[in-house]
């Protein structure tokens, strides 16, 4: 007999069905979570379209109110995280160089150092690590702030004043996070590339700075710059929209805010990884 929330079926009914490989409770569990995830994706899709619509149609509206908000968000998602990003960039340079130098030295191909740095740091780890950092520091704060504002009725206050909550609360966060993640990624990559060479120098790797940076320049293409900008801005927009969606899109009680923050983090990570996978496809095709 199934356990949990499974609905018991009569013997005649089960005879008509193919017996599932898992007990009904597990099937129900997976189905429940899958359906909920699809429902959230459906809601998120609608929220993305609404946000883009507002971003375009209200581009020049209330500049003197919205621009300071964008600057605040840029500060929160960019400048304030710079010390942490520099620390991470030094650590990333150490991790990548420390591991790859020992590997490349073993097989005697030190001249691939620059290529490895570009592939690992510029294309993959740099943007993803920055996005996760911003998600952890600012994204979660977003859900809590907006969820609390929603629970306390501030969204209705904006509506009654004729202020579109998407324009006032979401648009500055989307722009701020997109530009913030893009800028921080640039600093992270530059820091990791420089610290990478320093760690290689400390390990007595026989490579001159000129050769190292020539290798980097040779490994980089114009497409890298374009895709890096695009990817980091999309990461920022995805994190901002997902966190705003979970904080704002449905009526919340104060007790539900923490749960909304957990869902927002999970969905942000899943979507960022999916976006990253799409960009890997672009790299492979290009």
């Amino acid at each position: 007999m199934p356990n949990g929330n499974a609905t018991p079926l009569s013997e005649s009914a089960t005879r008509l069905l193919v017996r599932p490989a898992l007990p009904f409770s597990y099937v129900n569990f997976i189905g429940h979570h899958l359906l909920r995830f699809l429902r959230v994706m459906y809601g998120l899709g609608a929220f993305v379209l609404i946000t883009l619509g507002v971003l375009v149609t209200k581009f020049g509206v209330a500049r003197r109110v919205i621009h300071p908000l964008v600057r605040t968000q840029l500060h929160r998602s960019g400048l304030r995280l710079l010390p942490m990003v520099i620390f991470l960039s030094v650590a990333l340079g150490l991790v990548v160089i420390g591991q790859t130098v020992s590997l490349l030295t073993r097989v005697g191909v030190n001249n691939f150092l620059g290529t490895v740095m570009v592939t690992v740091v510029v294309r993959e780890l740099g943007p993803l690590l920055t996005a996760l950092l911003v998600l952890a520091r600012t994204g979660t704060a977003n859900v809590i702030e907006l969820g609390t504002a929603r629970a306390l009725g501030e969204v209705e206050s904006l509506e009654v004043l004729g202020i579109d909550p998407i324009h006032y609360l979401v648009v500055p966060r989307v722009i701020g996070m997109a530009l913030g993640i893009f800028s921080l990624t640039v600093y992270l990559i530059l820091g990791a590339l420089v610290s990478g060479y320093l760690w290689a120098f400390i390990q007595d790797v026989p490579i001159l700075p000129g050769d190292y940076f020539r290798q980097l320049a040779a490994a980089l293409s114009g497409l890298d710059f374009v895709l890096l900008a695009l990817k980091t801005c999309i990461f920022g927009a995805v994190i901002a929209i997902v966190t705003c969606y979970h904080g704002l899109a449905q009526p919340l009680q104060l007790s539900e805010v923490s749960e909304a923050a957990i869902h927002a983090v999970v969905h942000s990570i899943i979507l960022c990884v999916l976006v990253d996978a799409l960009f890997i496809l672009v790299y492979l095709i290009a």
Binding site: R63, V65, G153, E154, E156, S157, L161, G162, I163, P251
Partner: protein, 267 residues
């Protein structure tokens, strides 16, 4: 009187209605699937002073939220100054919405802004101006509500009464023609209650802060007594129905209905 009886009472204003609800169904703001009031037929003339009575959880806040344009009716038609109000922020609807103001129960201010910034927000947003450009109007509103000493404070550092006054100042910032107030007297001491009754009487008669024009007022509350000598029209929400009690003499004739309200029975 039946619940869905048409609003036959339009006096004292004989001009075209400011607000008009025809067979409107009101749903809960927090739970859109829950119907709180059905079959509302209601006409508000310019300059009216309505009091909507009802006990706790009778749907007063949801009714005012719909009337102020936050929620759209799931059924029926709601016209504001002759224009059907639906959701969205399209420019043509925005103009109609800005003629309405709502003071929430407790003010519902934006907690990350100071009191002065809260009041300046609608002026700056719709006028696309810096806070300094709205300073004169904000100063006037702070003086009116006695909030000048707390202008630089954030809402959670002042009492609920002052937050509600800030809500009034913010609602008046854009010079609305119709003002909705959700339970403005709840939890006030007699002195503060007297202040609210006096300021609303002045606004209804035409205060300089609203360019001397008689403001149309719709107030909700759980007790008719404070409003008996001030408001001009009365209605009640009960058992998901909107009961139009008409003007004061009519309301007196509906004493049987009034007595059904426990808030009045206490008297």
């Amino acid at each position: 009187m039946t619940a869905a009886a048409p609003a036959t009472f339009d006096a004292p204003s004989a001009s075209s209605p400011a607000l008009e609800m025809i067979d409107v169904t009101v749903t809960s703001l927090k739970d859109p699937a829950r119907v709180v009031v059905e079959g509302v037929n209601w006409t508000v003339g310019a300059g009216d002073f309505w009091v909507i009575g009802g006990l706790h959880a009778s749907g007063k806040s949801d009714f005012l939220a719909l009337a102020a344009g936050i929620v759209r009716p799931t059924r029926g038609t709601y016209r504001v100054f002759g224009r059907a109000l639906v959701g969205g922020y399209e420019n043509e609807l925005l103009a109609a919405r800005l003629r309405l103001g709502l003071v929430f129960d407790g003010g519902q201010l934006l907690n990350h802004l100071t009191i002065a910034e809260n009041i300046a927000l609608p002026i700056c947003y719709h006028g696309d101006c810096a806070p300094a450009d709205a300073a004169a109007r904000v100063e006037e509103l702070l003086e009116l509500t006695g909030l000048a000493p707390w202008a630089g404070e954030t809402p959670n550092t002042i009492s609920r009464n002052w937050q509600q006054r800030a809500g009034l100042a913010r609602a008046l910032a854009l010079n609305p023609e119709v003002l909705f107030l959700d339970s403005p007297l709840t939890g006030l001491d007699p002195r503060d209650a007297a202040w609210w009754l006096e300021i609303l009487a002045q606004l209804s008669a035409g205060h300089p802060i609203v360019s001397g024009r008689a403001l149309t007022l719709v107030v909700s509350g759980d007790d008719f007594r404070p409003w008996q000598d001030r408001a001009r029209q009365f209605a009640m929400l009960k058992h998901k129905q909107f009961l139009n009690l008409g003007n004061r003499p009519e309301a007196a004739r509906e004493a049987a209905l009034l007595r059904e309200s426990p808030a009045v029975e206490v008297n």
